[in-house]
């Protein structure tokens, strides 16, 4: 009993951290451009594929992979913003950006299938092997994921709450017009936001790939991240992180009860939260903008 409990906790926490990375990315984008990103899961998959390309196909070392991946992610983030957000930012129809991200999701998914094929690929973990705690073997990759993800999330908090450039980004997100008047270059701040989001999510993909396989089916994880965002309260970074970790743990523990309906358990929980506490567990008190 204890054995499986420890194992489930470790895997739940690790996967929850990955959801948290995606959820943080989602919240940052919601704040910056006011829309949900439906391509988030595909960005995660892209991260996994880029890591596979750099580390397995090109055979780079760990440092080379990380640096190369971050460079590619940053460029791709700007590209993503230029195609999905910039042309439709003044569209009279507010759904336009959302629909563009759906289109981007299809494009990214199918391009990856065309480039790397539809066969699932394997990528070795960053730290191979496992450690023994209380007689339970736990893969080292779990600890790598938890550590790196916690570091990234801490960095995002620091950036957005404490540093000047984070405040600029928040200002540009809250009211673009006023921010422009104050002399804030909105184009650059939004581009940087997209770059950061792509880096966070891409690294998430690199981290999670060894646990599963590298294939386009990884994009299904975005629904869990979304559930985390809703459970934590919309637009709230801390809530999103806690909600996502909760989703990861619940999903993991749910294998005590059922394995076929794992997906359904998470979404039933989501529906319950929506019915009982529509603003989420840590809902913020900012009301709608007219």
């Amino acid at each position: 009993m204890l054995v499986s409990f420890l194992q489930l906790t470790a895997s739940g926490l690790a996967v929850g951290m990955i959801y948290a990375l995606m959820a943080v990315g989602l919240v940052l984008l919601v704040r910056a451009v006011g829309t949900m990103n439906f391509a988030q899961g595909d960005l995660l998959t892209l991260g996994a594929f880029v890591a596979y390309w750099l580390s397995v196909q090109l055979g780079l070392s760990l440092a080379g992979t990380v640096i190369g991946a971050i460079l590619i992610f940053a460029i791709f983030g700007v590209l993503f913003m230029l195609t999905v957000f910039w042309p439709v930012r003044k569209s009279s129809w507010p759904q336009a950006i959302t629909i563009c991200t759906i289109g981007a999701s299809t494009i990214i998914k199918n391009s990856m299938t065309l480039i790397w094929g539809s066969r699932a690929l394997n990528i070795p973990p960053i730290l191979p092997g496992s450690v023994q705690i209380c007689g339970v073997y736990l893969e080292k990759q779990y600890f790598v994921i938890i550590g790196v993800a916690a570091l990234i999330i801490w960095g995002v908090f620091l950036l957005f709450d404490k540093l000047y450039c984070g405040r600029i980004m928040q200002a540009a997100a809250q009211d673009k017009y006023a921010a422009t008047i104050m002399g804030i270059p909105t184009f650059i701040t939004i581009a940087v936001t997209f770059m950061i989001v792509m880096c966070i999510v891409g690294i998430g993909g690199y981290l999670v790939a060894p646990l599963f396989v590298v294939s386009t089916s990884l994009s299904r994880l975005q629904l869990r991240a979304f559930a985390g965002v809703v459970i934590g309260g919309f637009g709230n970074l801390k809530g999103a992180v806690i909600g996502s970790i909760a989703v990861g743990l619940i999903e993991s523990y749910s294998s005590y009860v059922t394995t076929t309906y794992k997906d359904a358990v998470v979404f039933l929980l989501l529906l319950m939260v929506l019915v009982l506490k529509p603003s989420g567990l840590f809902g913020n008190r900012i009301s709608d903008k007219a």
């Binding site: 949900m36 439709v88 336009a96 299809t106 494009i107 065309l114 629904l223 809703v230 979404f267």
Partner: protein
């Protein structure tokens, strides 16, 4: 203008009545599928175009209604028409409950949650033994019996579907001109203003969602009777994206536009068969280009062109008067 519209629809109707005489059996199958998808797309047209809520869950309700009909008519031997109606009613009730929960979410959060619904239902369609018998679905669903006739071949199906589609189309057009339609439009344009004018935003959204899901259920029942089998792969997320594309290509708030979009979206894969591999990639690029260049779809383009034309004619007429 009104005379022109009535005349145009009469010509279309006569053309539609004689269409099966010219088409081969295979083309008739494609056409029937188009009409079935059109009914489901109408629901999305209503929810997205009229009420401004983007949902991907249509496919789940299609599937639920489809599987229920198959079970009712095959396992429980209920009369086929009755089984269909029963399935539609049950699906409508389920949709109402789900809508009540989901409509607490705003805008794109709602859209995301509707994708969650799709994933829950596809798990159910694969694993719930009572509903789907096995992961391979249900085959050998009995033929639809309309009391006075049993719908057997594709030719007969075509006419049944045509009647159903016209009824659903007129129904949606009618709603557009009622209190509900105008309330929905106000919710779409500005929810806060709508609520100050006494529109119950939440209730309007839930009703629109229920009607849209019921339309999806109708099309699901038709699909299952038409193909006489039901399987999970008929009701996937990709399908839902196609429905949304149909509506957006034709024009989000136009019934005729939705019809045109359904035709284009079903016929395009037939025409582009040699590019099968790149098809979904092209769809994706198409969506983004559509949003950038014509966010209101083909109907929007036609509308702005006619408006320009009319202005042009008016200017010309004025010039002549002055001479």
């Amino acid at each position: 203008m009104k005379k022109f519209k009535i005349g145009g629809s009469l010509i279309l109707l006569v053309l539609a009545l004689f269409l099966p005489q010219i088409l081969t059996n295979y083309h008739l199958l494609v056409l029937n599928n188009t009409i079935i998808y059109f009914i489901s797309a109408l629901g999305i047209c209503m929810l997205l175009g009229m009420c401004g809520q983007m949902s991907f869950s249509a496919v789940s309700f299609m599937g639920l209604a489809g599987f229920l009909t198959a079970q009712f008519s095959k396992t429980y031997h209920i009369h086929t028409l009755l089984a269909g109606v029963l399935a539609i009613v049950v699906t409508g009730l389920v949709a109402n409950l789900i809508g009540k929960a989901l409509m607490r979410l705003e805008g794109s959060y709602f859209t995301f949650a509707s994708i969650g619904i799709v994933s829950i239902f596809s798990t159910l369609f694969l694993n719930w033994k009572w509903l789907c018998s096995s992961a391979d679905g249900i085959s050998g669903v009995p033929k639809l019996n309309l009391f006075f006739m049993t719908v057997k071949d594709r030719n007969q199906w075509y006419y049944v579907l045509l009647v159903a589609a016209i009824c659903c189309g007129l129904f949606v057009e009618r709603i557009r001109r009622t209190h509900l339609g105008r309330a929905a439009a106000s919710v779409r344009d500005n929810a806060i203003v709508a609520s100050t004018l006494g529109v119950d935003v939440y209730k309007t959204k839930v009703i629109c969602f229920t009607i849209a899901s019921t339309l999806a259920a109708v099309s699901g029942v038709m699909l299952v009777y038409h193909n006489s089998y039901a399987v999970e792969s008929m009701f996937t997320y990709d399908m839902s994206v196609s429905f949304t594309l149909m509506v957006m290509l034709g024009g989000v708030n136009s019934t005729l536009g939705t019809l045109l979009g359904s035709f284009l979206m079903t016929l395009l894969p037939e025409a582009l068969r040699s590019f099968q591999q790149y098809l979904r990639l092209l769809y994706g690029i198409g969506i983004i280009l559509l949003m950038i260049f014509m966010p209101m779809g083909l109907a929007g383009v036609v509308e702005s062109l006619t408006a320009k034309w009319r202005k042009h004619l008016k200017l010309k007429g004025k010039g002549r008067n002055n001479e």
